[in-house]
Symmetry: C2
Subunit: 230 residues, 2 copies
Amino acid sequence: MTNTRSGKTSTRRGMQTRAVILKTALDMFLDRGYEETTMRAIAERAGVALGNAYYYFRSKEHLIQAFYLYTHQEHLAACAEILEKERDLKARLLGVMRKKIETIEPYHRFAGVLFRTAADPKSPLNPFSEESEPTRQESIALFAQAVEGSNARVPRDLKGELPYLLWLYHMGIILFWIHDSSPGRARTRRVVDRTVDILARVIGLASNPMMLPLRKATLRLVAELRESGA
Amino acid sequence: MTNTRSGKTSTRRGMQTRAVILKTALDMFLDRGYEETTMRAIAERAGVALGNAYYYFRSKEHLIQAFYLYTHQEHLAACAEILEKERDLKARLLGVMRKKIETIEPYHRFAGVLFRTAADPKSPLNPFSEESEPTRQESIALFAQAVEGSNARVPRDLKGELPYLLWLYHMGIILFWIHDSSPGRARTRRVVDRTVDILARVIGLASNPMMLPLRKATLRLVAELRESGA
DNA sequence: GTCTATAACCGGATAGAC
DNA sequence: GTCTATCCGGTTATAGAC
């Protein structure tokens, strides 16, 4: 989802104005928080009229959408090295997850707002929405890469669904992170360490023939989840 | 948390007025939705001044708090029969979960708002908050009852944590339900059926000595989760 | 302590002229 | 594409009555 604008913005000047508004908004959000930053203040500091800000961004929340994309790109870059060097699945997952929470840490103070919008099924910003599809797919692709590039033995049927499952798992971690007020988000880090450990164990067990019914049941569930688009 | 009022309301007449405002508000929310119902309209229809509504309810959101308690009580009552008759753990869980989604179904149209506020870590309405502790404990107790009254063999160490884990699971289902726009919430029902099946299998496997390390790892995680109050 | 009435504030969102 | 003026509704303030 690279497109958060209301109308068609094709001219060079339009792009420029749009970019200025966005940068100003994100700066101010980081500086003083989301609620405390009014659209009027953003417009004023960006040197445009209030109505013009709304010309480019349908609502205040739409300004957030750019944030998702931004942190995702940062996360991608941060993961590149470990995904290239490390072959052990558990280590790869741990690396990806640690980088994730490091990447988003600076934005923790307005995490609440993020999730408030994310939880609203009517919001186009929610991670399950159609409008979020492209970003979601990119994010799932990252987990696919983490699985593919590893030397882990994963049953074929599970392997296909694993990236999606890991993405869901990572959304859960983010939910925890949002509610985590411990210093330096120490608790989230411990939870990541422990859950990745558990995931690695479960994936290891999944090949066991004894687990076949459970694995099949789980895959049926996943099919159901994906089909519903949620 | 039964108390959502701003000041002390001790007189009979005060209680009366409070109740009228609340009932009017919930009626109107159901009838035309949350966003569409203005505080001015609630006050007018309840026959009180706008200021008076704010005298009893600190904010519009506080009117929602009563809703949680209300549906929880309904759910409790709806579960009583099955919990009394049925002894099989899987059947008990399935019963409890099905009743849950039946109970909240009428409110699906403003579920988005509910969870928008509920997801905000700063909101006293969020299910992990200190202010929600009493309701949360009651809800966990229901799952404890479902486990205790069953004839399932559950390892002792897991048995203590299971109610909390099930409560977490049930929150996840509610999150899915919110995003579920399928007719009659058919998808949520299928997901409940499948997940309860999986849960029952996992609980069954948990006694297997082969699972000991995994079980221990999971219990350490749960301890971490609870300690952090989230 | 309970309640009314009225006015005002504030900030997100929109309309419509240029 | 950009502006100004305006709407709208949550929330607050005030002043006073039972």
